[in-house]
């Protein structure tokens, strides 16, 4: 976001006693002089909030907010049109509703005015998000929204893009607390959660399934689906060619199976499959990844940090790990060349990761990788440092001669292979110093 101070900037509002709200497309009969605020009717005026009275104005709201550069602006929506990021929703432009909308907006404005200027003027998405959460009852709550592919929106985040990413960082820093809300399946092709879930044939993945009873012929012990016995109106055993005349005497029906009309395969239990409504791709239940969504709440630390005007102490676990690894290896290399000390860097690669992803799905691959990482950490010394990059696991072993590591490497790989349920094709190799920069990601 680029900050340009306009007349609608938060600084301009802070000094004003009576707030002014931009009223979009209002019928004149709603307005009287006894409101605790003033109304303006064009976005060139100064305003601290927006009230959309009917649908004509709804389309302009996003553009007006962006033009104003004030992403803390509260918005009330009294129209039939959907404004998912509005702070107040009250359908029907009545005098009472307008009063309620004004009250709601004034509460938020009051809260915004109490923020330090450094926060109100901050153009960092995380600071804006934290300020919005603070001024909107301290909660960043997710809401189901079928109009977006991910099916979840955070109305309190306003127009901030992908607010969950910023919220996660704020949660890592302890400024927000994170609470599980729901888990969604996501299309591996396009990431959408608009998926049709259906029962499918385990062989051809058709959803054209039907239930069929099995018949057990007592005399010859043949047991198969009814269609194999059916000859017109008669039931004839396909094994011994005898007619089955009497239920309970010649035969019974001890089970029910699911059969596929497309390929004729008999399933004991159908599979769950997904079809993405957005990109029309089809996926097995196991191959579909899941995504967890959270509700975020302001913490006391977050509130103190915000009111003091400092939204800092951002943490990024993966970046920290990478930085630490770089630092330690760099230092190790310097000591190695200065004092002729040995060190070893080991790479554990997973040659069959793609194969596992295709066969078993993203979830199984992720679980197996996590398990492998735990095994590596468990097998190594306290002094060794492990880094999980996207592609490999790197292990920095200070004071270790490469010749000493062959047996532990083999043991480590054997352990991974024998413990994991899927074969990731784990292989260990020594990393040359020149190769290291290529293996380390630039930035997570």
């Amino acid at each position: 976001m680029n900050l340009t101070v306009t007349q609608n900037s938060p600084t301009a509002h802070a000094a004003r006693e009576v707030p002014q709200f931009l009223l979009l497309s209002s019928p004149p009969n709603l307005l009287r002089d006894d409101f605790r605020c003033r109304f303006v009717f064009g976005d060139e005026e100064v305003f601290e909030g927006i009230i959309v009275v009917n649908g004509h104005g709804a389309d302009d709201v996003e553009a007006i907010v962006r033009r104003s550069n004030n992403f803390l602006l509260p918005i009330a929506n009294l129209s039939d049109a959907a404004i998912p990021f509005a702070d107040y929703h009250g359908q029907g432009a009545s005098r009472g509703r307008l009063e309620d909308a004004v009250d709601a907006l004034m509460r938020i404005c009051e809260s915004v005015r109490q923020l330090p200027e450094s926060i109100r003027l901050n153009d960092e998405a995380e600071a804006i998000l934290l300020a919005r959460v603070h001024t909107r009852d301290g909660i960043l709550a997710p809401a189901y929204d079928a109009s977006v592919g991910r099916m979840i929106t955070y109305p309190a985040a306003g127009l901030i893009d992908e607010p969950w990413r910023h919220a996660d960082r704020l949660a890592e820093a302890g400024l927000l607390s994170k609470h599980f809300f729901d888990r969604f399946h996501c299309c591996p092709s396009c990431g959408s959660s608009r998926l049709n879930v259906r029962e499918e044939c385990s062989t051809c993945h058709s959803a054209d399934l039907f239930d069929e009873t099995t018949i057990h012929h007592f005399r010859c012990a043949h047991q198969a689906v009814e269609r194999q016995f059916r000859q017109g109106e008669k039931l004839v055993c396909p094994k011994c060619s005898r007619e089955l005349r009497h239920f309970g005497v010649d035969y019974d029906k001890p089970g029910l199976t699911t059969a596929c009309r497309s390929c004729g395969h008999v399933n004991d239990d159908s599979l769950v499959g997904f079809v993405c409504v957005d990109c029309e791709s089809k996926h097995d239940g196991q191959a579909v990844a899941t995504r967890d969504w959270y509700e975020y709440k302001m913490t006391a630390v977050g509130e103190r940090s915000l009111l003091s005007g400092e939204v800092t102490s951002r943490k990024d676990g993966r970046k920290d790990a990478l930085d630490t690894f770089r630092l330690m290896v760099g230092q190790g290399l310097r000591i190695s060349s200065r004092y002729d000390k040995s060190l070893t860097i080991l790479k554990i690669a997973f040659a069959k990761a793609d194969q596992v992803r295709k066969q078993h799905g993203e979830r199984v691959l992720a679980q197996a990788r996590t398990h492998a990482l735990e095994i590596v950490r468990g097998e190594l010394r306290d002094t060794d440092l492990v880094l999980d990059t996207e592609d490999n696991i790197l292990v920095y072993m200070p004071e270790t001669d490469t010749g000493q590591t062959e047996t532990p490497h083999r043991r480590l790989i054997d352990r991974i292979r024998s413990t994991l349920r899927v074969d990731l094709g784990a292989e260990a190799s020594l990393v040359a110093v020149e190769e290291l920069s290529r293996l380390l990601p630039m930035h997570p």
Binding site: H216, R219, A221, Q223, P254, G255, V266, D269, R421
Partner: protein
Amino acid sequence: MSVFDPTYFLSNAEPSTLIGMLWFLLILDIPRYTFACISVVVYEVFRRRRKHTVVGEPLVSIVIVGHNERPTIRRCIASLREQSYRNIEIICVDDGSNDGMAEELSKLRAEGLVDGALTTNPRCGKPSACNLAFGRARGDLIVNADVDCTFDRDAIANIIAPLADPKVGAVSGNIGVRNAEESLISGLQSVEYLISISLGKRALDFFNIVTCASGAFSAFRRQALESVGGLDVGPGEDLDLTLRLRKAGWEVRFAEDAWCLTNVPATIPGFVTQRLRWERDAIRLRLRKHRDVINPTNRAFYFSEFLHNCEFLFTNIIVTFAFPFYLIWLFFQFGSGAWTILVLVMMGYVLLDFIAAGCALAAGYRPGAWRIWPYVIPYGAFNAFVMRGIRIYAYLQEWIFRTSYTDRYIPKRVLERAPWY
């Protein structure tokens, strides 16, 4: 020294006298044991030459059927999922259980450990439940195993190896006893399994007369199974299927290195019930249902089939029924001196059993197998008196009363409609 002391007896008796007294051992038992041991030695020499390897990695469907086996099903499946042979699908049938086995199967299915989970209710019996699963199986090779079995990691790879030969329709796996040390009776059965399966079936395989692809662990070529219509109504459906496969021209082999472990009955009533059923089935199937193959005037007569039936007639019927006559003859001839001769016979059995068990272990030693050695000592007497006694009783039951037709192993409503032979 008394004349009733066996050592004195052995050192002073004339060879002709000894032969006259110990004829049962010398004529009926020693040749059997010698034949088996020599066969195994020869087998081991020639085995590597005729070892087959399955080309590629064809899909193997493993069919597991259980009734009220909730406590054991997970262990069995876990053992199968540890196999070195990876291209497998596991299809389980819950045959009318009421102990929650169906729910356990659903869990296993959800965990991806089982590829197919079928349920029949009411109980249909193992043969028809297997037939249902055979129809659902996708592999050209089908392994049928008992739910209380667990398997060596290379068991599936080894049991399907002989099926590389297109003439082979079925392969029987090797079976060991998991609970050998649970009781004396289970320890004795572990010796019996070692001698009769690990050693005995190798000998039969050498002559290509394996006649029972055990229901506990066997592999089949789908084409062979379909050619005979799968399993017929039991009990004894595994023996019956093997005999029908042989009649249809398929070879049946034994994979001595395909090991599964099973629990045997650890109590006398459990043991007796199981053996009575097995022995009755042998009579019903071999001498009634499939009597055509031992009748030289019948069109279905084959010399190879006649050969394995001769082996059955000799080892199971003649030896079994001759033993009580031998005992009567001993006491009639020698009075109380018969006890000394019996002790000598038992000593002979101990020696033969040690040799046979040693041969079996030398041919395929399993870690921990030495634990069965103490049970080898009483095994001879157990086999001679207990097992032969059970066998005689079962044969008479079946010959006279056809008791196998009322066996509770198969549901009553099914047995009532099954054909009589």
